[in-house]
Symmetry: C2
Subunit: 469 residues, 2 copies
């Protein structure tokens, strides 16, 4: 094959991760064809897609910056500086995310997706193909077959296929047919439904817009994120058995009045009932896989490689970070994007191998953290022990910003690899437990010592009195 | 639907488990259609299938008995009373499987499959359909679509679909599209290749026929099981990296001469080289899934539900036991087979639910035990500690046959549920460790006590000598 021929990459999936990957590949001078199953969202207003808004934090922003497509997003997001806890009796308390005022940001998934597709389209060496359904890959022959909407199918050549086609990825399925992939999928026993808190009659936000609102109820919870149109998208997460127990409007209203009383007037009973019964209930899946690649032929990224439960707000951020991690490994093996060099099969295979080896432990740690955070969000945030540790960690972090870093900060406000964040957190937990144990020992010793001292003094006083008598 | 209409079941897969399930279903008076992807093995001599022989033990035999199809199998199997360990320098040592002479049995997979198909065919309410490839299931509409060899496809009605279509089950795939299935597949880093030790020139077995032969080599191993034609089927299991390192005939012969020297003259160098390079290398997968069913519409059994690594010889036995467990749960919920009653959707759904709940922990325990047994077979069997425990457990088992039962005996020679066997084994291990610790303490005390005594006596003697001086 002539080395002057452009290197061709087929990207499967035109969501957030797929379109971002297209930008990175195009900047390498590769010929990029991006195939998306659905219609072009910029032309089709009917598509609601999946969840409406998402929490963008440092990893996602870093990836957008590295691709040079951050500006529009940064100008159209709503910073949330902490969690706003709603108790059952309607009391509010704010828990900041970071000691230095760090924020996560509510962004509109569709706005972001459209912007990324627009950005992709400005690049001369990318072609977008909507309504193309991946049917089959022949990695040995470097071919992929897509079905078109009219029933016809096309076979395209691809030096490399990048699968960014989500949790139920067809690319991953094809990868699993070609090579030995260790794979697991597990559903949690909870589902979710999306609801809305509309703007007030004056056209303003019905609650503080700079918080992620949480109604923690131990075994389940509801959250709300602000939108640019002054509404909030509310998501109720709870066990399937609870969903099944709500059969009538009355069941629903009673449940909400008892459980989330302050939210009912904000949503409006009519809208609540309408949306709850109309909107589909989603399930929550975790997917782990390894390897992500096969030789120099295919690699899966984003949810196609590692779907996680949404409780750390890291699904999208992690998927976007995949793009920078892959890009930096490609640079290491195949040279800078500006070199314009066509990667050899061996160097590309080595790069993808390194990608699997470095990225897999990190994203699997993140999957585990996301699972853990459900317990934190729905329950721990209301517990004194949790709040105490959070406060102490905050002080220590302020005193020694690089030595003690709260877990949430490491995950959301740094690019410390997830697995390292998890290890540091485990180490910090051990120190914290030791310190608490010493603190308790000191406290008990003090109380006992004081007791003995005052006992002795009291005996002295009595003796004195006795002698005087 | 009229209750007089026969209940129709579609079984996908005509292997050992599928054809056995067909017998059980037919005996319930159900209308059974069995669809198999491959040609009828009774008409097609070319099919070598997968592994040539298998180890049949109590669970498999019980299932064959319960179906009333055991006779021919029992008359055509070779009992193996223990493991014959081959050391590197060609020494042999026999380790019996059970203290009471219990045996596992080498059976020919094809003979067994053909016999089961013959047995199925004698039943009036079963139809066999070969060369039918399951394409899709519509569980809600109770339909299944099969592709035929001529390219046409048929849609069949099924009140219940039973998937017995192996580790890469299409039925399970369809189940996973319809309901939330927690699923994992993991490959071990080892592969296998099958070889042959032919009969001797006098037409006899080249080694003792009543043993399962093992060449344990710590990180890998080779085994051999006898066939009725006086040959042995040999399976070499080892890390993929070792397979990759053997590139030439010379590499192979050197490796065998160094590692399994006594096997080379038995196989014959020419046949060894020919088979090693010609025969395909198999990978070893473990599959876990839950649930196995969806409502009253579908259930998966055998490898389709739980593929395991082959090191406990339980894959087939476990799959056959699935049939009896399912049968007894069906009897509990839907009445005896002889009742001829058509099960209602609710009772059948409850039965399948109970099947998932009771069978899942057992087969997953078995998957774990099979993984563990690879270490036992390739390494532990050569260690003094293992042999000591095995011996002590044997004595205790002889003294108290129902109180202390070695793990291998529980798994292979009883129908104690696998998960219970695992729990009992863990309990026994704790007692064994305690006893060993006490034994060591007593031994040390004895040595120290004896030392002090003799020390004192020696002093006494010296004093006596001294006084005499």
């Amino acid at each position: 094959m002539a080395s002057t021929e452009p290197f061709s990459v087929v990207i499967v999936g035109g969501g957030l991760v797929g379109s971002l990957a297209a930008v990175f590949c195009a900047k390498r001078g590769w010929k990029v064809d991006l195939y998306e199953l659905r219609k072009d969202p910029r032309e089709d207003a009917s598509q609601s897609g999946r969840s409406i808004n998402l929490a963008l934090s440092v990893r996602g922003i870093s990836a957008l910056r590295a691709a040079g497509v951050e500006e529009k997003i940064l100008n159209n997001m709503i910073p949330m500086k902490g969690r706003m806890i709603h108790t059952r009796d309607g009391k509010l308390s704010s828990q900041p995310y970071g000691i230095f005022g760090e924020c996560i940001n509510s962004v509109d998934r569709m706005l972001m997706n459209k912007h990324l597709l627009d950005s992709v389209e400005t690049l001369p060496n990318v072609k977008l193909h909507f309504e193309h359904d991946l049917k089959q890959c022949d990695f040995d022959a470097r071919k992929a077959v897509f079905a078109r909407k009219d029933g016809s199918s096309i076979t395209v050549h691809a030096d490399l296929i990048i699968g960014a086609d989500g949790a139920h990825s067809r690319t991953r399925q094809q990868l699993m047919r070609r090579t030995r992939v260790n794979f697991s999928q597990s559903y949690i026993d909870h589902g979710y439904v999306e609801l809305t808190i509309p703007p007030t009659q004056d056209g303003d936000y019905a609650m503080d817009a700079h918080h992620l609102h949480i109604w923690p109820r131990q075994t389940f919870m509801m959250i709300a994120l602000p939108n640019l149109d002054k509404s909030f998208t509310v998501t109720l997460f709870m066990p399937w058995s609870k969903f099944e127990a709500i059969k009538t409007e009355e069941d629903l209203v009673t449940f909400f009045e008892e459980t989330f009383p302050d939210s009912v007037p904000l949503m409006g009973q009519k809208l609540l009932v309408q949306e709850y019964f109309k909107n589909s209930k989603g399930s929550l899946i975790q997917i782990k896989a390894r390897p992500y690649h096969f030789r120099d032929r295919v690699v899966v990224i984003g949810d196609a490689a590692h779907a996680m439960v949404p409780f750390y707000g890291q699904g999208m951020n992690c998927g976007m970070e995949d793009c920078i991690v892959l890009e930096s490994i490609l640079t290491k093996h195949c040279g800078l994007p500006s070199s314009g060099r066509r990667p050899s099969a061996d160097t590309l295979a080595a790069a993808l191998e390194e990608y699997t080896n470095t990225r897999n432990p990190d994203v699997e740690a993140m999957c585990d953290l996301a699972m853990y955070n459900y317990i934190e969000m729905r329950s721990s945030v209301t517990k004194a022990g949790y709040i105490f540790r959070k406060t102490v960690e905050g002080w220590l972090h302020r005193l020694m910003p690089t030595v003690v870093i709260p877990l949430y900060t490491m995950v959301s406000f740094t690019r410390i690899p997830y697995a390292e964040a998890m290890r540091r957190w485990e180490r910090q937990s051990k120190w914290f437990d030791l310190a608490r144990w010493i603190g308790e020992l000191v406290a008990i010793s003090t109380v006992v010592g004081a007791g003995l001292y005052w006992g002795a003094r009291w005996r002295g006083v009595r003796e004195l009195l006795w002698r005087q008598n």
